[in-house]
């Protein structure tokens, strides 16, 4: 079934293309289209999960120019990211429909929303560097209108900062790709690329360009400025995009570059693994520290994302099998947990008008479901058992020991402490303090249902980690089959 | 040989005067003299057709156009002494550079190369005896068709500069010739002769020097004289007859070109009926050229301020 990858892309592209032209009033058609597309995509992904587990691989080649082609290839790693984005897209669509009831420009929003997901799917399934770059840049373009959706001063400034960081990064990435391909020929993720034609310094320079290009989206320290600012976007945007699509695309890119373009042994030989790990660690600590200072909930969550994504980069940079498994599985765990927190932040903002931390006082009992999910998510972030966060941190610690970098344990400990430092006060305010005056009603199932589902997923993926089909199972399958050959 | 040297010397002197003279009017007068001298140079270079064209269009019509422009411009933006020139040094260097390069290239020309032999060989199948007309209307007829369209485009461009509320008025500025005066008398005597000379030039173009452009220009001069003498007012811009006359030349040429497709290719004139075809094209072209050139010199409709 070579056409399957294109079919998956279509499930996101077709509804988006049609939604653009729908008038504002056509709520039914729009919601139906988007929900239909999302469910179809989840169904396809589930069917592919079974196939890939059985060893099948899907591949489609779209010729762009003689010698230049878009290769869409579904392998285990692609499926990991695909599964995450498909599931969360469905949930976020439900959330967004409820969130946007009565607000203007819905057709425009859902149109670009679909384009973003299509770009994310493309990133996941891309088989060559150029295909990856094409979808990577499309993601930047499709995200900007969403960031500036409210069209007010704050979101426009956020949009400018976002483009200001993302476009130069794209340029750096393009230079790296072309520099690499002009020496080593078109780079496909399947067969190894012979980089010996390039001098070592050139290879290091190219690796640095790759990290810089991808680092902006993966919010590595010097390049992370745009993420907190992008919180001016509506809640669904910050939930799906900044917790899942955009940020993970950067991390996923780094995974592809380290494993499929350079290969583990060359990364070790060039000695670029350690600086990357160091950069990731600095980001982890720095993100958590900055999160402590934030008074707005969404800003705090944003800085928490900055630090959490670097867990993935850290795992990959440590190269050991356990560390990589930890990194990959954290890709899923952080996604699921963080989206729960953003959903709750969205509900607090929408229903209770609470943006800052002080507003959370005593909301626990009066908004029980939301606060419960929020607490689950927060605990998951801190990494307490049996939540999913704990599993990733364990593997990351193991990996650190395995690849002879004990200081990783120190970093994990410090960051967990900091996580606790900036999450526990919130929980304390929610449950222990006396309630403020107004009695907000949270009973909007459109917002609540997705939050509950993601919170459950965060809990479940920790509890059933040992099972084969859990995120951990898939991650270890990937590591054994693809990367330790 | 001596005449050539004197002629070249005079051409250069007049060109220098035209370019570096003091007033605009003086420059235009020198330009007209330059045109006459250059047409004499064409006679020396054995190119009679070009001499006719240069005298009629180069010196004649362009001179009239510039003279009338000088008159109107004085009224619109006259007065005020100001510097004649700007960035003299770079202009001088550029001009000297190009001239030097041209002379170097001209001296470096290898053995003389020309298409005289090919034209002579193909002349019998061209339908006309005069090689220049053969090239103009048969071998390179495409250039001539485009050229007539260029004239038309220039005219539409000039008309598009009319003030919005003047649209539809008569072309050019209202002329004030004294009724019964000398100009009017001249206006009655010359046209018949002018018409005859114009038509003769077109007809003679097939065998000897002459042709649509030279004939058309003479007819345009007659039309201008009639307009200036006040005997025949300039046509209104919107007059359908005028527009048909404007379009006749290029339209007939294009029609013949498309008809050529039936004989195997665009603009293909089968040798046996080439002469009649060329003559019809020339007739239509002359009409269009005469009307277009006259209107171009008259300029855009300005019923407001008289000359």
């Amino acid at each position: 079934m070579a056409a399957l990858p294109i079919l998956i892309l279509a499930t996101a592209l077709v509804p988006a293309a049609i939604t653009f032209f729908l008038p504002q009033a056509a709520h039914g058609v729009r919601n139906g289209l988007n929900l239909g597309g999302a469910t179809a995509k989840v169904a396809l992904v589930v069917w592919m999960l079974v196939e890939v587990a059985a060893g099948a691989a899907f591949e489609t080649r779209i010729p762009l120019a003689p010698g230049l082609f878009l290769l869409l290839r579904v392998d285990a790693l692609a499926l990991l990211f695909l599964a995450l984005s498909a599931a969360l897209w469905l949930l976020t669509t439900v959330y967004a429909i409820a969130y946007f009831r009565g607000k203007p420009d819905q057709s425009r929003f859902f149109g670009f929303f679909g384009l973003c997901v299509a770009a994310t799917t493309g990133i996941a399934m891309s088989g060559t560097l150029i295909s990856f770059f094409v979808f990577f840049e499309m993601l930047t373009l499709a995200t900007w209108p969403l960031v500036v959706h409210k069209q007010d001063r704050a979101s426009l400034d956020a949009g400018r900062l976002y483009l200001g960081c993302a476009l130069p990064a794209g340029a750096a990435l393009l230079v790296a790709i072309i520099w690499l391909e002009s020496a080593a020929g078109p780079v496909a993720f399947t067969e190894a690329t012979d980089l010996d034609a390039l001098a070592p310094w050139a290879q290091r320079a190219i690796f640095a360009l790759f990290v810089a290009g991808l680092g902006v989206k993966a919010a590595l320290v010097p390049l992370h400025g745009w993420l907190p600012a992008a919180m001016a976007a509506p809640a669904p945007v910050s939930a799906l995009l900044h917790a899942v699509a955009v940020v993970k695309a950067g991390a996923f890119g780094i995974v592809r570059v380290v494993f499929d373009v350079f290969g583990i042994d060359r990364v070790a030989a060039l000695g670029v693994g350690l600086p990357l790990a160091a950069l990731a660690s600095v980001t982890i600590v720095w993100g958590s520290l900055r999160a402590l200072q934030q008074r707005e909930i969404k800003k705090r969550l944003a800085f928490s994302t900055v630090s959490q994504v670097s867990y993935i980069v850290l795992g990959v940079a440590l190269i050991g099998p356990a560390a990589v498994t930890g990194g990959l599985v954290h890709l899923i765990h952080q996604g699921v947990t963080k989206i729960t927190l953003f959903f709750c932040a969205g509900i607090y903002d929408e229903r209770a008008g609470v943006k800052r931390i002080e507003g959370l006082d005593g909301l626990g009992p009066r908004m029980p479901v939301t606060s419960a999910c929020f607490s689950l998510g927060a605990l998951g972030m801190i990494g307490l058992p049996p939540m999913a966060g704990f599993v990733s941190k364990v593997y990351l610690g193991l990996g650190g020991l395995q690849s002879g970098a004990p200081w990783v344990l120190g970093v994990l400990a410090v960051s967990s402490l900091l996580n606790a430092a900036y999450f526990l006060p919130l929980l304390y305010r929610l449950w222990a303090l006396p309630p403020a005056a107004a009695q907000p009603d949270e009973q909007v199932w459109g917002l609540l249902a997705p939050t509950v589902v993601t919170a459950a997923a965060a809990l479940l993926s920790g509890v059933v980690a040992a099972w084969a089909i859990s995120p951990l199972g898939l991650a270890s399958l990937i590591v054994e089959r693809d990367y330790l050959r | 040989m001596l005449l050539d040297v004197i002629l070249c010397g005079m051409i250069l002197a007049v060109a220098l005067a035209a370019v570096s003279g003091l007033g605009v009017f003086r420059a235009v007068v020198f330009f007209v003299v330059h045109g006459v001298l250059v047409s004499m140079a064409w006679l020396r270079l054995d190119a009679v057709d070009v001499a006719l064209a240069e005298a009629a269009i180069g010196a004649g019509l362009t001179g009239v156009l510039l003279l009338s422009a000088v008159a109107r411009l004085e009224r619109l933006a006259g007065g005020g002494a100001w510097r004649q020139r700007v960035n003299v040094l770079p202009a001088g260097l550029a001009a000297a550079g190009v001239t030097g390069a041209l002379m170097w290239a001209f001296l470096g020309l290898p053995q003389p190369a020309g298409l005289g032999a090919e034209v002579a060989a193909a002349l019998p199948r061209a339908g006309v005896e005069n090689p220049v007309t053969a090239v103009l209307l048969n071998f390179r007829g495409w250039d001539t068709l485009l050229e007539s369209v260029v004239l038309l485009a220039a005219l539409v461009g000039v008309w598009a500069l009319t003030a919005d509320d003047d649209w539809g008025a008569r072309a050019g500025v209202a002329q004030h010739a004294a009724p019964g005066g000398v100009l009017e008398g001249f206006g009655r005597v010359l046209p018949p002769l002018g018409l005859m000379v114009g038509v003769y030039l077109v007809w003679a173009g097939a065998a000897g020097p002459g042709g649509a452009f030279q004939g058309g220009t003479v007819l345009a001069a007659v039309a201008l004289l009639l307009a200036m003498a006040g005997l025949a007012p300039a046509p209104r811009v919107g007059a359908p007859a005028l527009r048909l006359a404007l379009v006749a030349g290029p339209a007939v040429f294009l029609g013949v070109g498309v008809a050529g497709l039936a004989w195997g290719g665009f603009l293909r004139l089968p040798p046996d009926i080439a002469k009649p075809l060329i003559l019809t094209i020339e007739a239509a072209l002359t009409l269009s050229i005469a009307v277009t050139l006259a209107l171009l010199v008259l300029g855009r409709p300005e019923p407001g301020d008289g000359a």
């Binding site: 010729p63 | 001209f106 007829g141 038309l152 003030a163 919005d164 665009f266």
Partner: protein, 496 residues
């Protein structure tokens, strides 16, 4: 068209139809729009038939009047020419559709309503001829017709600003024509022919050829508004009415650049010493930087888009050092050559879309100052989306045709070791992001309460359609690239 022998029919129709149309429009003053619509359809069909013929039977040559060069004039349609004809047909169709609303002659014949249609069709015929003709003097007449039409279109507005701009354009254009004519005269004096293919055989590095090549290149550089000679372009393209400026910016400079391309790749391929080619590309690079810098400082939308044209035209000149000269065909030449063709095509579509969108904004708000465009994203979503897609194509971001062009040229730059041109492309792309962000941000800002005349969706679809084509050029770029390869001069090895 009369079927006659199919060979020349379609090719001639692409030039003869607009000519006939302009003549008809001169006579039928009030029905210019309908005539132009008919011509647009006719030429579109002719280009399609021609494309089929060229795709099937390869390069198509027509000797006008049955006289072969050096005596007669030859027209030739190869892959490149037909691609540019296609670009012209598409852009013209959209321009005619929008101009029909702007220059409607319902209320009796107005000056602009009368003048616009013949001029735009004459301009189109001249443009198509510059892509097809193989004779240097015939190209001179076509250039002259192109310039007169363009200058008249700039001045058709009638206000003082555009008149001064049209005059400056005229002065520069006359300068360019003179230099070009000088070059052509010298070539005829040296070789006795003006046909490009015959010149290719007879040209040798002797004084007349070198001087002629220099003069022709200078003349055409002035007409293509290459960096030191670009002063005339922005005020002229911004001063013209929107549909006219779409044609002026997207198509007219490409006509003169196309002749330069034919000269250096077909008439005198190995006459140019590398330093000359590097100088041309250097000026191109300077145009990119300078044009973008000035675009950043403009307050009016149409001026930003016009300066963007100066910058984007600079990219085209990068092809000379990468693919020109140096006799033996290198593997990367094909990619630079095709990349530049793509850049021209994608820029044509995107720039036309941008100017048409700017025209709609002016139609809605009455002026094109940036602060007046605030909040149009909500009231004119389709036009703004079209403008955005066009911006993506100009930036050279995937999936647009601009990206394919940038990728191909950058690969050639890296493969041939001349990395500086890749730098120009990257920096140019970022600067373009800079100056195109300002209008986008204004469009997306919250709506300032101002008088707003509603613009029909039918008109808003035009820029969106053109911009969509520019994006589509990138997505389905395989077919055009193989088409462009038909009749490429030194069919370099297929390597990328």
């Amino acid at each position: 068209m009369i079927p006659g022998d199919g060979a020349g029919g379609a090719l001639m129709a692409t030039v003869a139809l607009p000519l006939a149309g302009s003549l008809l429009a001169v006579v039928l003053g009030r029905h210019g729009a309908q005539v132009a619509g008919g011509v647009a359809l006719g030429v579109g069909a002719a280009v399609a038939v021609l494309a089929a013929q060229v795709a099937g039977g390869g390069v198509l040559r027509v000797d006008l009047g049955g006289w072969a060069p050096p005596l007669g004039i030859a027209l030739m349609a190869d892959g490149l020419a037909v691609a540019f004809l296609g670009l012209g047909a598409v852009v013209m169709a959209a321009v005619v559709a929008q101009a029909a609303a702007l220059f409607s002659t319902r209320g009796g014949e107005s000056r602009a309503g009368y003048g616009f249609w013949p001029l735009v069709m004459v301009l189109w015929a001249a443009l198509n001829l510059t892509f097809l003709s193989r004779d240097l003097f015939n190209l001179y007449v076509a250039l002259e017709l192109l310039t007169l039409g363009a200058v008249a279109l700039v001045a058709i507005g009638g206000q003082a600003g555009p008149l001064a701009a049209a005059l400056r354009y005229m002065v520069f254009a006359l300068m360019g024509s003179l230099l070009y004519l000088l070059g052509a005269v010298l070539l005829y004096a040296a070789h006795g022919t003006l046909d490009i293919d015959l010149l290719a055989i007879r040209a040798q590095p002797a004084p007349p050829d070198l001087v002629a090549a220099g003069l022709i290149t200078a003349g055409l550089a002035v007409k293509t508004a290459l960096f030191p000679f670009h002063a005339w372009l922005p005020p002229a393209h911004a001063g013209a009415p929107a549909p006219a400026s779409a044609v002026l910016s997207a198509l007219v400079p490409k006509g003169s650049f196309f002749i330069l391309w034919r000269l250096w790749f077909e008439a005198m391929p190995d006459l140019a010493a590398p330093p000359v080619l590097t100088l041309l590309a250097g000026l191109g690079g300077a145009a990119v930087i300078y044009g973008s810098a000035l675009a950043l400082m403009q307050g009016r939308l149409k001026m930003i888009v016009a300066y963007s044209t100066v910058a984007q035209l600079g990219y085209l000149f990068l092809v000379f050092p990468l693919a020109g000269g140096a006799g033996a065909a290198q593997p990367w030449e094909a990619s630079a050559w095709t990349g530049t063709a793509f850049q021209a095509l994608s820029h044509g579509l995107a720039k036309a879309a941008m100017f048409l969108a700017a025209g709609l904004f002016v139609m809605a708000v009455g002026h094109d100052r940036l602060e007046g465009l605030r909040g149009l994203a909500r009231t004119m979503p389709m036009a703004v989306f079209g403008f955005g897609l066009a911006a993506v194509a100009l930036l050279g971001l995937p999936p647009s045709g601009g990206f394919t062009a940038k990728y191909l040229v950058m690969t050639a730059a890296f493969a041939s070791g001349q990395v500086v041109w890749a730098g120009v492309l990257v920096v140019g792309g970022l600067l373009a992001a800079g100056y195109l962000y300002r209008p986008m941000a204004a469009l997306f800002a919250d709506a300032a309460p101002g008088p707003l005349t509603p613009v029909p969706r039918r008109l808003q679809a035009l820029p969106l359609l053109l911009a969509g084509l520019a994006i589509g050029l990138g997505v389905a770029s395989d077919a055009p690239i193989t088409f462009l390869a038909i009749g490429r001069p030194d069919a370099a090895a297929e390597g990328l």
